[in-house]
Structures are given as C-alpha cells and as structure tokens.
Chain length 343, copies 2
DNA sequence: AATGGTTGCTAAATCGATTTAGCAAAACAC
DNA sequence: GTGTTTTGCTAAATCGATTTAGCAACCATT
C-alpha cells in the first residue's frame, strides 16, 4: 500500500490530473465535468483512500494554513490554556497551530522564529521575550501577520492583546490594604518584561497612596533571578519575608507564587495568619490549596480568541468590524482565604 | 522586502540554481565549485538573508523532518512534560514536533491522525485512545513509523513504551496495607484504557491477598464517567467514600486525584487522619499540597526519550543497539504525608 | 593533432498538487 | 452547410527546492 497521488487516480480512471483535481476540489460543475465522470473519479479516489499531499498543496498555493505560536513555556498552565483556546479558535478558520516554547531564551526564540518562517507559517502568535524585539520588528516590516500577546514593546505598532495588569494589581492591593495589611512585599522576576513592570508600578503606586495613618508602609520589592536555582530562590524569598517582617506578599506571576508556596511550606509559615498571599494569574494549585489563594485572574480564553481574530484580520479574513488592533483586557481579582486572617 | 528564493540568488550572481543549491548545502567541493564563486554566492545569500523554503525542500526530498505527537490533553501536566522531553530529544536528531490533543475523543483523534498524515509527518508518537486501534493498525501496515506511549492495545505488534502500572500500584498498595489501612477504595475512569485496567488489576490482587486477619477487606471500585460534569463526579466520589466507610482511597490517574482533593476539601474530610490518599502519577499539586500526597511517579523523561529513540530506529537513524521494540519502564512509589495518619 | 582526463558548471527532471489557457467535438443557429 | 457557442476535458506552467546526467573548456599525454 503505497501513497496514492492525484496522478494515480488520473491514470486509473483514464483522465487528466487537472480533471481529478477539479472534481476533488468541488469545482466539477464550475468546470463542467460530466456527472458520470465525477462519480467515477470520486469513487476511485474513495476506494484508494486518497489523501492530498498538503506539502505539495502548500507549495503551489503559497498557504500552509498553519499558524506559529511562540510561548514562554508550554508546560506552564497559563500558556497551555492559552494554546488550547487558540488552537480551538484557529480551527474554526481552517488553521492549524504549532506551538513552541522559548523558555525565555532569546537565542532559542530567534531560532524558533526563523524555523517557523522557513516552514512558511501563515502567521505568528507570540508572547515575546525581551530579546525578540528586533526579530519581531523584522517580521512585521516584511508584512508577515503577527500578533503579540500578554506583553509587548513600548512604541511598537504591532497588533497585540494585553491584560490590564495595572488595574488587576491595584484591585488586589486595595483589598489587602482594606484588610489591614500594612507590610506588603512584592516579588517579581528579572526578565524585564513589561507586564511585570506594570504590575510592579501598580504595587508601588498603591503603597505610595496608602493612608497616612499607616505611616510606616514602604515599598519592599524582591526581584528573583529567573535563571537561578529553585533552592537559591526559595532562600531569597524566605529571607525577604522574614527580614522585612512582612504580613502580606504579592507574587507577580504564577510560577513565583508556586515557588512561594513551596517555600512557605518548608518554613512552616502559616497562611493567612502569619502571612497573606496574593498571586497574579490563577492556577489549579491556588484554587485547591488549603487555604485557597487569592489571585488576579487573567482572561485567558478571551485573550486567545481575540488574538486569533486580530491575526485573521491581517490574513484578510475580514471579520466584521475589525477596529482596534491593540487590545487591553480586564483582569479580575478573586479574594480567597489566603488574604483573610482571623480577627 | 519580498521573499528571497534560490533563483533570486542565482540571477544576482549570474549562475544557475543548481550551483547555488550545491554551495548552500555544503556540497561545493564535492561538486568542484571554485572557491571564488563559492564565496560570492555565500556572500549574496547572506546579504539577502536567504532562508530556504522548507515546504519546497520537503516536497522534493520527501522528508518533512516533523514528528506528530498525539496526546490526550496537552494542558495536563503529565502530557506537557512528556511533550517537552520528546521535543528536546527529537531536536537532537534534527526533528521538530507538532503536538495535538485528542481529548479522548476518537473522532477527533482520527481526524488529527489523518491531518498529520496529510502534512506528511515523518513519524507518529501516540498516546492512543480506545477508538484509535484501527487507524493505528493502518498506519503501521503502511510502514509509517509509529510509537505508542503510556498505553497500547493487546496483541498489537507496534513498538511502544509503557509503564509498569501493575508494579507501581502494587507497591503503593503494600504501603497502605502495612500502614494498617483496611478499607481501601479505588477510583478509576471509564475510558477502557489498558493502563487503567492494569492499575485496577494490581489493586484487586492486592486486596485479595490481604492477610486474613483483616477479614473484611473487600474490593471497592468506583468508575467515574469521563464525560460527566465535574460536579456530578465530585458527588459520586464523596458518596463512594462515605457509603463505603473508606479509610484510604487510590486514584488511578492525576486528574482524578485532583478532582478528589477538590471534593475532599469541600466535604471537609481531613487527610490523612480521616482518609488516606494515593494517586497514580505525580503532579505539582500533590507535591505542594498540605499534607503532601503520596504518589506513584512515572518516569516521564525516560518514556519520552525512549519513545523518540524507538521512532528514530524506524526512521533508519540506526542508533547503536536497538534491540527491544516494546519497553516497559518502572514506576516508583513515593510515600508522603497523605498516607501516614497519626497513631 | 588526436585522445583522454579534469575542472567547473548547468539543463532539465522531479516531488504533487493547482490553475490558466485552450482544444476538439458536439450542439445550435440560420 | 457553414459559422458560432457550448460542452467537456486536457496540456502545460507553476510553486522552490534537489539531484542526475552531461556539456564545454582546458590541460596533459603521446
């Protein structure tokens, strides 16, 4: 059982490949192919189990019907969910998605972008890392359809879908302050990503605006080194919490929060009585933890869907009303037990 | 800035496309291309930023250098980890991996298999669902390289990498029995997957062999409906535990365990004092939970690597010593707090 | 000067589809 | 019976690479 090509069917039925192609692509009547011949060709195609070679189709049509999705780490829940919604949404438009993880390594990111370009993907969906700015600019200048997600570069006119990091963080900070926490720390990561900076800015502003009665409130930030070992980072976190006598801590992203929980567990620090915890970005772990952890939820599905739509706009799939090419979606604070200490 | 092709370079430098192709593929000396010309072509290729069109290359060479990976659900941690190791390992052999999730839907699984075949992937890595048997047989009979992982069909001669489900489960059961638990329940899912059946068989055998002193020990199994709602399933679990007065429960796979934790949390059942918990397959949540959950760890990395190796063997990359085409790797029980009640 | 061997490069086929332009035969018009 | 249309189909170009077979031009040999 070898592979069956158009030519095989053509030879079997004694017609030309053109005719077979027309029939199989539903252009039989348009091309005035007789009903009898159509039936015959369809039947043998079916019998032989013909499956068109997409590689050849792509070469000829110039379309692969594939989108490239570049995320930080596909095994991180946030990106896995994002990938899933994107895949489902893209399918509705007849596109497949191939995912790649950059692991925050700009060399790897560049290599992957190049690889996707060589594979002739029809469009790019990217959660960029700091080193990718040049490459993305280049893609965009070559008129390749590109959409950025979750983060972007200031001053870049590329379409993107972001989250209202500032608003979500502010909301969470208000909650902590209202609950009477005064020594609130902020733990972030040194990737220079602008969504992290926005979250930190909201934190700083919230601290600065704290009622004067709580006079001693001060900005207290720990910036974790992304490439350090887990153990080293846990040590840092525990030292940060203890030496600053914090009563609450805000983690800027989900893996920091998870690492934090691991650290608190080892240090036997009780949540929320000894320390309140909030994390940006929800996760099964936070929902299931005892006590469950207050979080700022990101609109993952909406982000994925909107991103695909922005890309389809560029691919000429003119969905109705494609107005703004740069979106910002709202994040939502969800209060749970981790921020409600017993009176 | 349009796309640059071989032909463009050929015209710019005044040579034929053949020559350019030879040079860019490192066959310059083999084809006795003069050093001067080689330099010139390389220079202009570089200057124009030439990137070969992989679609064309694939069509011509008959190789896409792409492997298709079909898993149950890429957002499930186990499969995400598996995908990651596979991706890394495949890269060493010059292959890219595209992942797809079947979501245990055999229709979707078939559609994905067909799609991957049409895209001319060079090989398949599959965690099959029960409905895929026919399709996989067909692939194998067409001499397409295929490797199954995690599960397989009895009597199928397709290469695969499995886990010693029976051994891992037995080990966990011994542990529970030694700890004095007597009313041990088993919760599985109705997908008819053989790895689940093996785990259940180990459970049953362990119960049957329990010391006679613990006379009342009886097989107590709940089979969850995969497609039921989460709420319905939680209700089932809670009823199962209460009505059977269980003192320990074994979850056959990670999402059941996670669902179980959620359920126990809502029912305010304390672990391990009221109920001991063990789950097949580790997860961040189990490691971080308070108390942390005893699990049977699967050798994910090893499975991924071995699977790629089995596939490479079929692709003729003759790694040294490719002996057995059907592997079974050991699972390891890890005792944690969830199975050690206070005396 | 004829022969043979290198050297350095190219023409053309090929992979498997799509699509444009056009051809022969039949049908119709008058 | 001749001219025009319509019908039903096909030849050939094309996408962008790889690769086989082979052609000139030059050199060396006798």
């Amino acid at each position: 059982m070898k592979k069956v090509s158009l030519k095989d069917i053509a030879e079997m039925t004694g017609v030309s490949t053109s005719t077979v192609s027309f029939i199989l692509n539903g252009k039989a009547s348009e091309m005035r192919i007789s009903e009898a011949l159509k039936k015959k060709v369809l039947a043998t195609a079916n019998r032989l189990g013909y499956q068109p070679n997409q590689v050849a189709v792509s070469l000829r049509t110039g379309q692969t019907k594939i989108l490239g999705l570049l995320v930080e780490d596909i095994s991180n829940n946030f990106f896995a969910m994002l990938a899933k919604t994107i895949e489902d949404e893209a399918e509705k438009f007849g596109y497949r998605v191939v995912y790649c993880s950059t692991e925050n390594d700009s060399k790897k990111g560049q290599a992957l972008l190049r690889m996707l370009a060589q594979r002739q993907v029809d469009g790019f969906l990217i959660t960029p890392t700091s080193g990718m700015e040049q490459d993305i600019r280049k893609l965009h200048s070559q008129h390749k359809p590109v959409v950025l997600m979750d983060r972007c570069f200031s001053g870049m006119e590329v379409p993107h879908v972001l989250v209202n990091n500032y608003g979500g963080t502010s909301e969470a900070m208000q909650h902590l302050i209202k609950k009477g926490y005064t020594r609130i720390g902020f733990i972030t990561v040194d990737l220079g990503l602008n969504q992290m900076l926005e979250r930190e800015a909201a934190y700083s502003d919230a601290i600065a605006k704290m009622p004067a009665t709580k006079a001693k409130a001060k900005k207290t930030v720990l910036t974790i080194n992304y490439h350090s070992s887990k153990e080293e980072n846990k040590k840092q976190i525990s030292k940060f919490i203890k030496s600053n006598k914090l009563d609450a801590v805000f983690f800027a992203t989900n893996y920091l929060g998870i690492l934090g929980l691991e650290c608190l567990r080892e240090q036997q620090i009780r949540i929320p009585n000894e320390l309140a915890v909030v994390c940006f970005d929800d996760h099964d772990i936070f929902r299931l933890y005892i006590p469950d952890i207050s979080v700022v939820q990101q609109p993952v599905e909406e982000m994925g869907r909107k991103a695909v739509h922005l890309l389809m706009d560029q691919l000429g799939k003119e969905r109705t009303g494609s107005k703004d090419q740069q979106l910002r979606l709202n994040a939502k604070f969800v209060a749970r037990e981790s921020t409600s200490r017993e009176a």
